[in-house]
Structure formats: structure tokens, C-alpha cells
Symmetry: C2
Subunit: 378 residues, 2 copies
């Protein structure tokens, strides 16, 4: 990692401080794109900054696969980790909370407070499990729009997000052209490529092959930990570039040899194992299945020329790619901007950030990225 990448953009800023998540309960049926309906749903969200009088300064931040509503700040004093995009969010930061009202929301189908397969099915009193309807990006975005409306917002200043969050930004631009002024998709494509589908499928097979999965009907205190940990380990590899893995770990051996046969022998192994085992403490295996499937189904144009679906777009779109992202490679990011331009959307920009950090580069506040975002929403 270069110095540029690890330096936060404005180290002097103190960030948004302590924050509290909120729940909004929607007491109306939600119909899913692929069929199925739930009688009501909850979205957990956080906000930072103040909504202005004409409600025109709201920015929605859409999270990636394993992210959530906790974009910035801390829930408790002294908490070690801040929200996942804290370095980008706060007074004077890229999403300047002195100017903007920033919203983070856990996606529908998730497991961090919003309604998902682990939530109670009012019809049975038990979790939905696999009775939760199949999910798409459009479902998640439509639920986000309900939240914005409930907050009194009829037009978002910007929708921004990386990876799956970027896909949602594109859906916003296409489905709700009058609702969004600026869209900033980072490290994403207009369709899930088949290699990414393949990686997700391996993760799902690991979960579903774990006997503790029990066809999805596992008790909350005995989930398919092994399967989910394997899925997460694999995910992590795809988020790092090979150069980054080389720099970060190389072939360095673990300091203490594992007493287990076939225990971790190299640092990269113990890192991944740790990532896997901590993930299962905060993520639900069924939600992982639903959300990865929603990502895999994502194909904005469904095989048609991409420019054809961009006709309705009114937002200014700034697509940001990262040179070493091999999960959604720059060529795929770039193709989004090219198609927008072909569709006559002149207010489109493509910026490629040179970095070794791979897909996860969208989480690292390099000066170039921070400045690109500032310009994209200015």
C-alpha cells in the first residue's frame, strides 16, 4: 500500500462522532420483483449531518455485500472501529456532513437490522428462513426509495456506493431518474460477470453443504459457521489484488506454528481464517445466500445493448474504477460510462484510480479518490 493510500484525506477532522442506528417500520406489503410479498418490513439506517430546509442535500450511501447502514462514526465511546466509510464521511470529508445529510441503510434482505431471511415471519412467528422471497438489486433500491420518501425526501442529491452499492446506484439512475441528481458507482459493473457468479456459487455451496445449514432452518445460535467462513475467506481473496496479497503477506510464515495438522503455516492463511471466523459472528448465512444471488442476477440490460437501458437517465454519473480490481475490472467499469455516453448522457465521467489495492480500493481514502468523489457530487 502506498503512503497515499493509507493516509486519510483529512486527518485533522474528528468525524461524525457517536451515532445511533434507527429503525423505520413500513407497515405495507412489499412485493418483490421475482414474486413473493412480505406484509411489512423494517429498514435500519443511520444519518449524519442535517437535512436542509428544502430537503435537497441528502446523499444515500449504498453498502457492498457484507456492509451495512453503519457508514460513519461510532456506536460507543472508545469503540475501536468506526463505520465502514468513516474516512469519507464527516465534517470536511468527501461526504461533508456540514453540507450534506448522509444516509446509510442496511439493504432489504440483509441481516444487520433490516428485514431479511432471519427476520420474524409474522405468519409463523419463526424466522422467514427460505420463505423469504428471492431478492434483486431492484428490490433493495425500491426499499431505499421508500426510506427516502419516509424521510421527506423526493430527490436525492446523490447516490454513491462501491461494488454491490454501485450496482444499486445504477439502478437508481435507470429506475428513478427524477429522484437522483448525481450517481457515483465505484468498483462495479452493469452486470455480474460469470467469474464473479462462479466465486459466489462456491461460497453458497460451502454454506449449503454445511450440515448445520439444515436447508436454511438453522437456529440463530448454531448457524453453518464453517460454510459461511469458507465463503467469506474466498470473498476476501477476490477483494484483494494479487500484488496486494504479495505486498501484504508474501510467503511470510506464521510466527507460531499451528499445532493442528494442516493448520495455518503462512500469514495469508491465518489472515483469511481470522477474517472467516470473525465474519460469522456478524453475518447471517441465509442473508449471504440471498444477497449474493441478488448480485449474481444483476444484469441491467439483460443482454440488450447497455446504452438502450440508459435512455431514461437524468443524473450526472461519475463511474470510478480501480486499476487492480479484478472482480469488477476497469474495462467493465469503463463500459458503463461508455454506454452512458453512447446513450447521449454527456454528463458522464469515468475516472480510473491507479492502485494496488484491488477491489477493496473503494474503501481506502486516497487523495485522488476523495477528490474525485468531491467533484462528482459538487
Amino acid at each position: 500500500m502506498t503512503d497515499n493510500e493509507i493516509s486519510t484525506a483529512e486527518p485533522e477532522c474528528s468525524g461524525v462522532g457517536l451515532v445511533q442506528p434507527k429503525d423505520l417500520v413500513f407497515r405495507a406489503p412489499f412485493e418483490f420483483e421475482l414474486g413473493g410479498v412480505i406484509p411489512s418490513f423494517t429498514l435500519r439506517y443511520e444519518t449524519y449531518g442535517t437535512l436542509n430546509a428544502d430537503r435537497s442535500n441528502a446523499i444515500l450511501v449504498c453498502h457492498a455485500l457484507s456492509g451495512d447502514h453503519h457508514v460513519a462514526g461510532r456506536h460507543e465511546q472508545g469503540e475501536r472501529k468506526a463505520g465502514w466509510w468513516d474516512a469519507f464521511t464527516g465534517p470536511g470529508r468527501a461526504l461533508d456532513t456540514e453540507r450534506y445529510f448522509v444516509i446509510g441503510v442496511n439493504c432489504l434482505g440483509g441481516c444487520r437490522g433490516s428485514t431479511g431471511p432471519g427476520s420474524e415471519n409474522p405468519a409463523t412467528g419463526a424466522p422467514y428462513y427460505l420463505d423469504f422471497p428471492q431478492l434483486t438489486m431492484r428490490d433493495m433500491v425500491r426499499a431505499q426509495r421508500e426510506l427516502a420518501r419516509a424521510l421527506g425526501i423526493t430527490r436525492l442529491h446523490a447516490v454513491i456506493g462501491g461494488s454491490m452499492g454501485g450496482m444499486q446506484g445504477l439502478v437508481w439512475a435507470v429506475d428513478y431518474p427524477d429522484f437522483v441528481r448525481n450517481v457515483v458507482p465505484l468498483a462495479c459493473a452493469a452486470r455480474q460477470n460469470p467469474q464473479a457468479i462462479a466465486f459466489n456459487e462456491v461460497g453458497r455451496r460451502a454454506i449449503m453443504g454445511d450440515p448445520r445449514w439444515r436447508n436454511g432452518r438453522y437456529p440463530a445460535d448454531d448457524p453453518p459457521r464453517n460454510g459461511l467462513a469458507v465463503a467469506r475467506m474466498l470473498g476476501h481473496i477476490t477483494y484483494l489484488s494479487p500484488q496486494r496479497v504479495e505486498e501484504k503477506f508474501g510467503r511470510t510464515r506464521t510466527q507460531v506454528a499451528s499445532p493442528e495438522p494442516f493448520g495455518a503455516e503462512f500469514e495469508v492463511e491465518s489472515y483469511l481464517t481470522h477474517k472467516g471466523s470473525t465474519f460469522v459472528e456478524r453475518f447471517d448465512a441465509n442473508a449471504y445466500l440471498y444477497i449474493t444471488k441478488a448480485a449474481d442476477r444483476f444484469d441491467l440490460a439483460g443482454g440488450a445493448p447497455l446504452e438502450s437501458v440508459f435512455a431514461p437517465v437524468k443524473a450526472r454519473v461519475t463511474v470510478i474504477g480501480f486499476s487492480s480490481d479484478w472482480l469488477y475490472p476497469p474495462a467493465e467499469n469503463h463500459a458503463v460510462a461508455d454506454a452512458l455516453l453512447r446513450a447521449g448522457k454527456q454528463d458522464t465521467r469515468y475516472v480510473e484510480i491507479e492502485t494496488n489495492a484491488g477491489h477493496d480500493a473503494f474503501l481506502l481514502p486516497s487523495k485522488e479518490l476523495v477528490n474525485t468523489i468531491r467533484t462528482a457530487i459538487a
Copy 2:
């Protein structure tokens, strides 16, 4: 796949026909590089062509992770699949059995006939399980040399192999410089890179997280199928280039929708699932652990400059890389040849084959590859 890639080099040739594997039992202790000893061992092998009078025309073909001794021909009349390098091996083919005596051998530690963790431990009468000593490439190569000697060969005309087989070729060149005239490593590197270690570790965690693994002491008829299938699915993704996955599957949906929740929805998913489920019928999970670990430990120079270990090399070495191989990328293949040249080994060549096929390109008999091999062993 281009036409060039799918055409076999000499479609008019009939190949080596029916073949029989043979077992050679070595009734002497084998000491492993990392410690541990087994009192005797068996190597299963096949040969094609005839050893000449001065025993100077033998070519050893080293297999990759999931390969075996069955390089060419068929075991039964009408068998659908021939040996894994059949297209390269036979009268008039790259390894011309009218000129050469070609040897395929299952690696020590394997599960296809050679002694490995699933073989009977004479001390207990039960399988070795995890009492089988930890394994390295050097162990496999030393066992191969025992086989060559037992066949009356004191110098091999060539050692050739792809992936892990290529690593073994490099060990041959370094450890037994007087025993090998030509070495042809394909799609391999002088060290396992940490991303490759990471992928293998995910596969191992999938196996070891499968409760049927039972700390390695599973009955032969109830192995950790789920875990091994997941490991294999993941391996397969790394053997294909993203371009190849795109060409071969794209986002094509399965013809028949799966009745299972989260069943295969895309062709790429059902392909991988099929690959996983057929693999478990022919491969032992513990052997997968041992062999991937041996590959992960492979680091010819152990951190020293690579050229320093190449001083003893006497063989002509032709390193072959494939442009779209991202598991052992061309830069890593090329680095091997560069280091040999820096070590003063002028009889070194690097050839990079332009292909979309990814790592598995070493299995596809393009004209260019066939001709490169011919030249490398001429």
C-alpha cells in the same frame, strides 16, 4: 476457444491405444524432507513407447494437482476419455512414442495408486490418514527418481509437466542435474505465490470444515464429499481465465430451472457443481490436503535470489507460459527463465503462448504449444 486451440495437432494419429497401469513396490524406507518415514511405498505408473537399448530416450511426464499416471491411451476399449495428455502423446505427437519412452507416474502422496494418506499403514493395518508424513515437491521428485532407476534409467531425456508438474521439473533440474537432459516446465513458477496459497487454503478449510472429514479418519465410503467438491469448484475457477469463462458460459441460464432453493441458475454454476461432484468420485480428500500443501510449500530459492539456486543446473530448460494464466501468470513463468539466464544457463528459452484458455491451456494441444514442446525436447 479459438480453432487453433481445439484442433488436435495430428488428428490422423491413432494414439497409444490400450494401456495398462503398473505398480512398482519399493521395499525400502522412504524418508521425507520435512521428517517422517514410511517403511515402503508403491508408485503406480504407465509407459508408452519403447525404452531404447542405451536407455536414453525416456521422458518423464509429471502431472498437476489432480492428475495421475494415466497420461495417454485408454484402459478399456471404447472408453470415452483418454489419458490427460493423450493429445500430446503417441506416434507422431509432441511426445512421439515412436522415438521416446514416455513415463507417467502418480505422485507420492497421491490417491490414484501410489502410496498416500489413504494407503494402508503397515504398522496399523488401517490407512495412514494424517500419520502420513508431510509432503514436499522434493519428496515427489525423489520418488520419481527411484522409479526411473528401477526402470534401468540413469538419465532422462526430458522431464515435462504443467502446473505442479512444472514445479517438479524445476526440482529435477536443480536436485539431479546429471539425471535430466531437457526440462520443460509449463504454466508454473519457482515459488507458489501467496494468492495461490490463499485459494488452496480455502479449499482445505472447506474439506476440514466438513464434519465428515473427522480429523482425516473418514471411512473410504463416506468421505467429506461436500468439502472436497467445494475445493474442486474453486480450483476450477482458477484454472480458467475470466475471458474463457465469459466465452464458455457468459450469463447463460440453465435450461431447466433447479427445483432446489439456491440451485444452479446459471450454466457456470451447474458446470462447476458437476465438476465438483465428479471429482469426489476419483480423488481422496486427505490426498488433496497433502498435495496442495506440498505445492504451497514450494519455493525453490526460499527467499534467496532465484539465480543462486540454479547454479547446478545442466539441463536445457524451456519454460512455457500462457498469456491468460492468472494462477501462475506469465511474469512468474518468465522470471524462471530470466533467473536461469542470470545464472549463466544459456541453454534456456522462454516461450509465451497467446491464449484465452487460462492456466488449463497447458492441456490444450495448440499447434504452437505442440511445436514448442517438440523443439524443447529435440
